[in-house]
């Protein structure tokens, strides 16, 4: 018993402390070193933060370089699949673009009105500037859903900066280094998004499900029935984590576990470039407030006028387009009518021919039967039952094969 315990202790000691010839450190030293780093990284000392930042800068860049071959294979495969769907996508995109152009104008009007009202209420305007950022590392860890972008504190990115894919929300910055930053995606389990769901304007919180979707977790029970399938979720701005009115996704009520899921608009597995929104508060000076207000309102009026004239131009363009289409359709209708008349004439002619043919057939049949049954139907004697040749009764008799009707 004591011997086996000795063996165990020797084996343990050997595993922890014995350093083979090539090893620089014993394993016990490295364990302590790891624990020391874990504890140290929890303190927010400047030296530690800078060191962490430097390590991360180097690691992210190295990771980007190491991942180039893998990314090349992935992007080649994606390009290939894109080419196969190219024409179909082009057509749908063109249609969507036309629709969006007209929607964009009304959005601009609302936006300018919104800015005007905000400047009146708050005394400052938020100038948001979206900068393009490249996704340098997007390794999909099974546990954490995050990406690394190539913009950092150098470009005024802060913790909490909202990140977009086109105009859809993707996530927010959770770690900032000098030239890069980490973005926590909406699909992560640690991501909480306060949203409003239309129709019904239901307030809820979406939590990432760690896979590809979000899940509505915090909502009043009596409001659940108000949520429709395919309802639109957009950020409510509660808690000032995300700006309000950003589209997030659509409601999906078809889950087997009766969870209310959200299909995000953006596909987080295909992110190559994203937009980071940098907000700056520009105070409205008190002295020239009135002048500014009149200037702002006149500017806004001008913007509105421009937008409306743009809208008018688009409407005129579409109108001329419709008129041209109408003309084309008219000429086509005329041509078709002509063709119909020609076909009608042809039809009449063919009908006559068929009728004539039928009459000839009947005559032929009468002559054939006349040869056989004329003796039966003809009246030869004074008291015979036959008919006079040439009369309709005679013809009827022949057609009935000599049978005289009562």
């Amino acid at each position: 018993m004591a011997e086996s315990r000795d063996d165990f202790i020797i084996a343990i000691r050997s595993a922890f402390l014995k350093k083979s010839t090539k090893q620089k450190f014993s394993l016990l030293t490295l364990v302590f070193f790891s624990i020391f780093i874990i504890v140290l990284s929890n303190f927010n000392f400047k030296a530690i933060t800078v060191t962490k930042s430097v390590i991360k800068e180097i690691v992210y860049r190295s990771s980007f370089i190491v991942s180039i071959p893998e990314n090349f294979i992935k992007s080649s495969y994606l390009n290939l699949t894109e080419y196969t769907n190219f024409y179909k996508e082009f057509k749908t995109t063109k249609e969507e673009l036309d629709q969006l152009k007209s929607e964009n104008i009304s959005t601009k009007i609302i936006k300018s009105e919104n800015d005007e009202l905000k400047s009146l209420i708050d005394g400052y305007t938020i100038t948001s500037n979206k900068i393009l950022a490249k996704v340098i590392v997007d390794h999909k860890s099974p546990f954490l859903k995050s990406i690394i972008i190539n913009k950092g504190s150098k470009e005024k990115i802060k913790i909490g900066t909202n990140i977009y894919d086109r105009s859809y929300l993707v996530g927010r910055v959770i770690e900032v280094n000098y030239t890069n930053s980490r973005v926590l995606l909406l699909t992560d389990l640690n991501s909480n998004i306060p949203v409003s769901i239309t129709p019904g304007n239901v307030q809820a919180i979406i939590v990432g499900n760690g896979d590809k979707k979000g899940e509505i977790r915090y909502i009043k029970n009596d409001l659940i029935n108000k949520i429709d399938d395919k309802g639109i979720a957009y950020t409510s701005g509660t808690g000032s984590i995300f700006k309000s009115g950003i589209p997030v996704g659509t409601v999906d009520l078809k889950d087997e576990n009766e969870k209310i899921l959200i299909n995000f608009y953006s596909d987080f597995t295909q992110l190559k470039y994203v937009f980071a929104e940098i907000d700056e508060l520009v105070p409205t000076s008190v002295k020239t407030k009135e002048d500014d207000q009149t200037k702002v309102s006149s500017d806004t009026e001008q913007i509105k006028l421009n937008l409306i004239s743009d809208e008018l131009q688009i409407l005129e363009e579409s109108n001329t387009k419709f008129l041209e289409e109408n003309k084309e359709l008219n000429s086509l209708t005329n041509e078709l009518n002509k063709q119909i008349e020609i076909l009608k004439k042809e039809n009449d002619f063919q009908k006559n021919l068929i009728q004539q043919y039928n009459l000839d057939q009947e005559e032929l049949e009468f002559l054939r039967l006349n040869l056989i049954y004329s003796s039966k139907c003809q009246s030869k004697k004074l008291f015979s039952t036959g008919f006079k040749v040439g009369t309709p009764e005679y013809k009827e008799c022949i057609m009935r094969k000599g049978k005289i009707s009562d």
Partner: protein
């Protein structure tokens, strides 16, 4: 079979292959999860570290393993030091198994590996959940654990061939 001239540069690179593979897998997060199979993932560094620590491969420097752990934390976004601790613990358990084993058996090693990774993943989960307040899905940990266990036997065949090629 490829044969190298010893002291050749290519041979030297070949002898450092496990460490290179470890760093590449850490930087590029090689776990085939881009196959988009639901829940599928496995931890390649665990397999590699356990195997080469068990075989006491001389070029497998524990300090480099420790560094790889730090890099992995930076790439994945975990608190620095968590993966290093996990990797070093795997090395310790593998070394302990080597010390108590007289005649190595692949199947025994395999099940011992299951026990080790389950223990380490549990420690990781607990530390992240309790001390760092991370929201984590335990199913992902269990599935990752299971596939890492399954893949060990496949990779060990390749690693065995690699070590044999060096002996030749």
């Amino acid at each position: 079979m490829i044969r190298f001239q010893k002291k050749n540069l290519l041979y030297k690179v070949y002898t450092w292959l496990p460490i290179l593979a470890l760093f590449i897998s850490v930087f590029s997060e090689f776990d085939l999860n881009y196959l988009n199979i639901d829940y599928f993932s496995f931890n390649f560094p665990y397999i590699l570290i356990f195997y080469f620590a068990l075989k006491a491969y001389q070029k497998f420097d524990y300090f480099l393993v420790f560094l790889a752990g730090l890099f992995n934390d930076a790439v994945v976004g975990l608190p620095l030091g968590i993966s290093s601790l996990s990797y070093i613990l795997i090395c310790i358990f593998a070394t302990y198994l080597r010390n108590i084993t007289l005649s190595p058996n692949l199947i025994k090693d395999w099940f011992y590996f299951l026990f080790i990774i389950s223990l380490i993943n549990s420690i990781n989960f607990s530390v992240l959940f309790l001390f760092f307040s991370y929201e984590l899905d335990i199913t992902l940990f269990i599935v990752n654990n299971f596939f890492t266990f399954l893949f060990y036997i496949i990779f060990s065949i390749f690693f065995k061939r690699y070590l044999k090629s060096l002996d030749d």
